[in-house]
Structures are given as C-alpha cells and as structure tokens.
Symmetry: C2
Subunit: 388 residues, 2 copies
Amino acid sequence: MLSHASRLGFRLLETDGSARLGEVETPHGIIETPVFMPVGTHASVKSLTTEQLKQLGSDARSTQHPAPSTGPRIILSNTYHLMLRPGVDLVEQLGGIHKFMGWDRAVLTDSGGFQLFSLAAIRKIREEGVEFRSHIDGSPYFLSPETSVQIQTRMGVDIAMAFDECPAYGISHAEVEKSMQLTHRWAKRSLAARTTSSLFGIVQGGVHLDLRKRSVEEIAAMDFDGVAIGGVSVGEPKEEMFEVVDYTAPLLPSDKPRYLMGVGTPEDLVNGVAAGIDMFDCVMPTRNARNGTLFTSSGKIQIKNAKYAADDGPLDPECSCVTCTTVSRAYLRHLFMNDEIAALVYNTIHNVSFYLDLMRAIRQAIALNSFAAYREGFLSRLRQEEKT
Amino acid sequence: MLSHASRLGFRLLETDGSARLGEVETPHGIIETPVFMPVGTHASVKSLTTEQLKQLGSDARSTQHPAPSTGPRIILSNTYHLMLRPGVDLVEQLGGIHKFMGWDRAVLTDSGGFQLFSLAAIRKIREEGVEFRSHIDGSPYFLSPETSVQIQTRMGVDIAMAFDECPAYGISHAEVEKSMQLTHRWAKRSLAARTTSSLFGIVQGGVHLDLRKRSVEEIAAMDFDGVAIGGVSVGEPKEEMFEVVDYTAPLLPSDKPRYLMGVGTPEDLVNGVAAGIDMFDCVMPTRNARNGTLFTSSGKIQIKNAKYAADDGPLDPECSCVTCTTVSRAYLRHLFMNDEIAALVYNTIHNVSFYLDLMRAIRQAIALNSFAAYREGFLSRLRQEEKT
C-alpha cells in the first residue's frame, strides 16, 4: 500500500547532510523539527505548572538578546500512567488531555508498550494484547492495539503511538524476531483502530540490523503519519544504539516525521539529528533536575558540589531562562542542600530550557546549512569538557 | 525617652474602628498595611520561584477583572535558619538576602528567638544570650541580642526583629514574668546594636494581661521602628490568644506599625485587623498547600477528597490566581494523588494568593470605612461554612 500524505501535514523544509529541518502541523499548532518533547508522564512535566512550561526556552525567531521565551510546542504523556490515574474515562469527561492540564499545544502519547516493558509489571503478553496489574494497587488491566489507540484517541491527543512490544536487551535474535513480528501484527491492528488522532508506527528489531531493516520495510509500507524507532536506550551500549540509529534512520520514509523514542543526552540529540531524526523525548532533563544534575553550555554540573557554595554567577551565562537570569549558582545550591521544593522547580526550568534551546540552535544550524560544523564544534567542546 | 518618627516612614492613612490603613516605607518599596508576609524560612517561600512569588495575588488598584497580579511587597525570613545554612558570611558576601534570592522588595527577618524556643534545640539560655546546637549537624552556635541584630543587618534586611525569649504556654506567672524581663533587657541591647536596618521591639508576657501591659510600657518607651506582639500562637486556646491580642494591640503606639507574629488563619487575620494590627506572618498558607488543604472563598477544602475527582470547576471561582484561572479541581486532585511536585506549586500559588487577596479586601474595606460590615460578613459566612 502506498503511503498517503501525512494528516499531520509534515513539510520537509531543508536538508543538510542527513539532518532535516521541517514542520509538523497538528490540530494544536505547528511544531518546528528537529524537536525535543518534554515528558509529562502524569499530564504534568514534573515540577512545573503548565504556565511555566509555556515560558521555557527562547524564541527561535527573536532577534532580541536574550530572546523571549516561547516554550515547547509539543509534550509527551503516557497512556499507561493516565489509564491508571486518573483513568481515561475521567480525562475524556474533563474534555481531553489538553483541557485537563490547561495546555493548548500539541500532545503525543506513548502507547503503553514501553511502560509494560520497563515497569516489568505483573503482565502476560498474548497475541490479543497484554494483561497486566497496576503498579499502584494491583488491579487488573488489559491493553491491546485497539484499546491503546482508542484510549489515546479518547484523550484527544494530537499524535498517538502504535501499540508495540519492546524486547529486552540481550535476548536472542530469534526471540527479538518473534517479538518484532508481534509488533508488526499489532501495528496493523493499531492502524485499523485509528480514527481522529494521527498515528505513528514503531520500528523494532533490537540491535540486529537485519531485523531493523525488515521492520522498517513492514512499518514504512503501512499508512502511518510518522515512524518511530523504538526499543533503543534499553540497556545496550551507546555505540550499539547509534549503530542501530545510524543504520535505521536513513531507511525511514523521508516524507514522514521520524521519531527516536526515549533519547537522550544532548550529545544523543545532536547525533540523532545528524542521522536524520526529527523528534525526540526523554526524561533526562526533568529527572536530572530533580537530582541536581544540571546541563550547561560548558558541560554537566552537580549543583550540590561545594565549589558552587559561594558562586554568585548564573548557572549558565549563555542561557536566558528564568533560573539563569534571576538567581545564582550559590542560591541554587543553597535551595538544593536545604531540600527546598523551589530547587526542583528552578533546576527543571533550566534543564528543559537547555534542551529546547539546543534544538533551536540545531534548527538554526540546519537552516544555515552549517549543521556539520555545529555538530563538530559541539562534540569537540564536549570532549574538552570531559578532559577537564 | 520619646519615640522619634520611625525611620520606616510609617503613615497611618485611615482608621475604621480600631482597624488601621497605613503605609510602611522601606528601602525596598512601600508596603500597604494591613499586610500579610509570606514566610520564606530559607530565603525561599516554599515551592515557589522568586519570579512566581512576585506574581501572586491581585493588584489592589486595578479596575480590571480579574485584576492583574502584583505579588507581595514584603516577605519574612529567618535568622536562625539562614545563620546555619548558608551562613551569614555567605549571604553577606553574595550581596545580602535580596540579591541572594533575586528579590527586590522588602524583607523582614525574625531574630531567632522564636526558633530557639520552637525547635527546642539543645540550648542554654543565659543573660548574655543563647548557646545552642544546630538541628542539622549538632555544631555549636551562639545568639545574643547583639549577634542577632548584627546578623540581620549584615544580611541587609529591611526590618530586623529584636532578640527575645518566647516563653512556653502553661508555665507560671512568675516564670513568664522572669522571661519577659529578660526579653526587655535584651530589647535594650538589641536597640543599642541597631545600625542600618530598622528594628522592631517585641512585647511578651504570655497570656497574663498584667504582664502584657507592663511589657508594652517597657517596649513602647524604647526607640523601636515598630512593635510586635510575640509569644502568641504557641499552644494557647484561640480565645486566650485573642484575649491577649484584643487587650494588647490598643495599648501599642499608634504611630508605629504593629505586628502580630506567627498568626494565623484567615479568620485570625480579620480579627487581628479589627484589634488594630498592621502586619502578620504565618506558615499556614504554604504549609497547608503542601498537605493539600486549600483556602477558598467558600471555606477550606481537602483537595484529595474523592468528590473533586471529576470536578472541572476552578479551585476558587472568585480567585484570579494562575491556579484558579488555568486548571481545574480535578487536575489539582490528580496531581496531588500522584505526588506530583507541580501539585505543591499550584497549591502554594493559590493559598498565598488567597491570603494576599484577603488583605487587599481588608484594606479596601477600611478605606471605605466599611470594615465592621466586611468582618461581620466574613465571620458569618465562616459560621455558615462550618455548619455545612
């Protein structure tokens, strides 16, 4: 079957090597790609109000310095967590996930497949779907391609993900192949269940390039609105992950958005873009914020380190977020050492802004056809930081 | 000794019964009174960034509906906590408490007297001062009238409090009297140590009206910039507390700000104003926010209550804070039930805004000479709520 034009209205604006500059049009606005999607597992990007979220990062088009903030254009939430609490009936009754959390921009939800893998809940995988028990109260649930897509659609998300099985790292080629074939059958059923939300297919195949190739062929032949690389960053070494990404990304349809799921570090984002990826999500900026690991233009820092106790400089002098423009490293360390909740808020504001601004810089570099030089500069600075 | 004009430039603008409308001019701006000071123990009003804090509550002068936010004009912080962490040397080195926390409005600090009482640290009270051990690491510290005032001054606070002893509720008249006399001697020494920060004296005397009267006479005769009623809300029944407040407040100098320390509920604020109090502070709005107890114009609610699970209305339809104008009770309950940090942020935004807006309404009522009617309406609504 030929793929028809994505209902998302994906436009590829520029290419620079394999790096792509594009736009994804959703019912809740246009998303410039490459894009990083902050993770809001329970319909909340952890530590932030929705109003704060809207004000993160810098305006890509602004000529002001520092650029005004405009916030992310899309976030990711999770079918698994929302179906347990508050439940899909409630989210639907309350007007959908956008109204529920006061967010008028785009939302993508994962299908639950990865959570059923990563939470290792009491679960039983059958052809029909997955029986599992809630990690909260042990009550029984069932997710299938049909129910997952229905739930995502009922919550009113802009982009739903197909229901997939994510194989563990380290199992045999034969086992990964069997799991991949189940994912393909589930992909067809997910697609058949699609109604109003756009739907992305997910390529699996573990670290086996032959399986990745076959999975791309199967998934690309289906009428999805975008294609994701799933089953990475599940414990494999970073080199193996990028062997898969570098091999798989160029095989994906060029006329659809390409999404690398659950990745990653700033370096991973730069390298993912270089491989031709358009979309990313990861809990790293929000989770690291909560344990005091902060990203800066001169490398990662641990804010609890004693050397910041009297440091009256901004967390990152190159950043224009609220944290970097209103308080010092010394104050951030003070809040963190005193277990102040505001420490988590300030740290999250910065880390997510850092990711958003990184993607903005990447998009600008592609637009200027200078992404290779940008990437080389970024990686060389990173190597220098690691030495110091 | 005659009291000279307060260096704070206190202006009494209106009286309405015993209620007073005034302005306190500080080096960091004018404070309209009666005022509630949010508590920022560790130089952080818990759960909020300084930027968020600046945007709480509604603009008293605005004719827009809803009124734009302007935030509190003064907050309270604590000598005891700041001297332990990060330490006064550091706060001073970093440019003072305002620069440290990115706050350009007024700051009042408690002297440490109350914390040494309430934390019941390992402490030894002598005429000279109090030896105590840090509740964090057991290291030894010393606070006296001179060191407390010096610390507050070095941190650059707008209003420092005299170092006092806060007697426990339930001890004998003779013991309270002895403690009060120590507070008076310490008040003289605090005043002698005053340099650049303004300094408020503290009236003690427990629940004994004869001692309160003597304490007012002693403290009012000293050259303080304002006078506080201390040693209330320390375990005594509410009726006894207001017996003390109603008796003591009218005895205080009318040409200086009158501050009721550590009080209280919304009802307490209304009754305190009726007694002639100008300034209040309390951890109640921020602490209650963290345990999900939210103040609304129709009474206190527990947001975790199941009846809010599907409630798509605003937390308080009469409030124009970010929480009430962007998300629903159902979403707030969802965040709270999932231990989301954003729950604490949203709850704190509302509770502190509620307190600030209450004080705004009180000031408006006094300005219109209708405070008695306002108070009667407020208390009668409260009685109705308690019945339902």
